[in-house]
């Protein structure tokens, strides 16, 4: 699974994905970073069977809310209010048209409080980034166990072979 964290520093919570990347890096999880521009994302996803994308989001939910979108991408409204000319939703849609979409894709987005240029990231988003990094690191650990033949059952909180 390839993890792609999107964002830009010095623009408030726009860097949420990059905070997650930093945290994951600290615990040894390999992460790619991207601006979140469509072509950058396409390139970052290239050749992967499964990707996990982390980005900032505005949806009206409380700041720091973690949204999780699994596989189906219909929920991503491709509209022009993304401030990248071509952003993450367009990158995913374009990958689909070009036959480059990974077989499995998960998107985590952190609800932003502010994107003000030159502002610091908010405490809510920093906390959410810590939580999300922990969840992703956990997921990565479970995956590595799966690779070694162990399967985790969330219902029974146990491993089986």
């Amino acid at each position: 699974m390839r993890i792609i964290c999107c964002g830009t520093r010095y623009r408030g919570d726009d860097g949420a994905g990059l905070i997650v990347a930093e945290r994951l890096g600290q615990v040894g999880v390999e992460v790619a970073t991207s601006t979140g521009g469509a072509t950058d994302l396409l390139e970052a996803m290239n050749g992967a069977q499964e990707v996990l994308v982390v980005d900032a989001v505005i949806s009206g939910a409380p700041a720091g809310t973690i949204h999780e979108w699994r596989n189906g991408m219909a929920e991503f409204q491709r509209n022009s209010s993304t401030s990248h000319a071509l952003g993450v939703p367009e990158g995913i849609a374009l990958a689909r048209v070009l036959g480059r979409l990974p077989a499995r894709i998960h998107i985590y987005s952190i609800e932003a409080k502010t994107f003000e240029v030159g502002s610091e990231d908010s405490a809510e988003v920093r906390r959410a980034a810590d939580d999300l990094a922990y969840r992703i690191a956990d997921l990565v650990s479970l995956r590595s166990l799966e690779i070694r033949g162990l399967r985790y059952s969330a219902d029974q909180s146990s491993f089986s072979t």
Binding site: R11, D55, L86
Partner: protein, 430 residues
Amino acid sequence: MTGRTIRVDTLARVEGEGSLYIKMSGDRVSDVRLKIYEPPRFFEAFLRGRHYSEAPDITSRICGICPIAYQMSAIHAIERALDIHVEPAIRLLRRLFYCGEWVESHALHVFMLHAPDFLGYPDVIAMAADHRELVEKALRLKKIGNGIVSLIGGREIHPISATVGGFYKVPSKCDLEKLTADLEWALQASLEAVEWTSKLDFPKFEQDYEFVALRHPDEYPLNEGRLVSNRGLNIDVAEYEDHFTELHVKHSNALHSIVRGRGSYLVGPLARFNLNFDRLPPAAQESAKGVQLTPPVLNPFRGIVVRAVELVFACAEALRILREYELPSAPICDIPTRAGIGQAITEAPRGILYHRYAFDDRGLILSAKIVPPTSQNQKRIEDDLREYASHLVGWPQQEATWKCEQAIRNYDPCISCATHFLTLTPNKER
């Protein structure tokens, strides 16, 4: 007399957030407002008190598409303040770095942002279904541009190697030669792009522009040159603020730049091409002449062809540099410690980018000023729209709106540059 309003609340296929409002009475345009939400003014305040060495990295975050332009303008301005002159190999490397960014930016705009307008698609995703090879070509070109930026800058996204006095790390000749095959393909693809774009259908629309661009004694401009125009301007870049000024307008956060005593002006590919055609390498000149594109080009819709010619330039220039490059004697030259003030202009893909820094004897920034190309073109875009909208009387509303948006996209405006976020429609199936 009938009235009409054209309103686009969020402009599509431009970098950043902006909106458009045009009010017409009969065939007379009474009001045009291109609204820009986010200026880079906050960055200027953000820079105060920081060491000048941070400026190239911080300002490169202003724009996700042209970070090299911001790095280069910042570095040149600071070097001017410190009277630093880098050795020829570093200069060549910077020029190659910039070529990479031009390839990335122009490939994105020509094929993915502007082409859908001419081919009648709402966006590149719809276009890709019918013109897959065009989009694949754009992606490959962009990747080649990324490859140059990544090799020299240390990484693709927000490159980190460029610094005041040189680079933290410089590539070997052998490293650069690995780019040759890709760049030869890119040159061929760019030549084809000139042919292809020249055959698009262009509205009949010409304006009497004041074009402003850098001009170098023997090169097509990127990092250096005097600032010139077709109305007699010919100044050192340090005199920029004596000849240009910015005006607050109520409807926009961005300031409108004007030439003092004259008004709006145009920066970017059209200006560079018209003022520097004789400085293009032979391959680019011949490709332009081959499609009857010679200065002065006064139709902004033909900017897509000019961008394709600049793609040819960037690839040909990059190949020349690969051939001539020799490892510099040191990656970074000696840097004096002293107070200073310095200005620089470089040619971002969208046009001239002005930076000015003043710092104290500890190197701490006292003031910074940044004038990006889009704010310089903003008044000119409105002037175009004022004229162009009057040609659209009688057009259906939807088509007239589309045409006005296309007229804005002629300028490849980079409105907020780098902030990105998603707008979600919650899905009840979750």
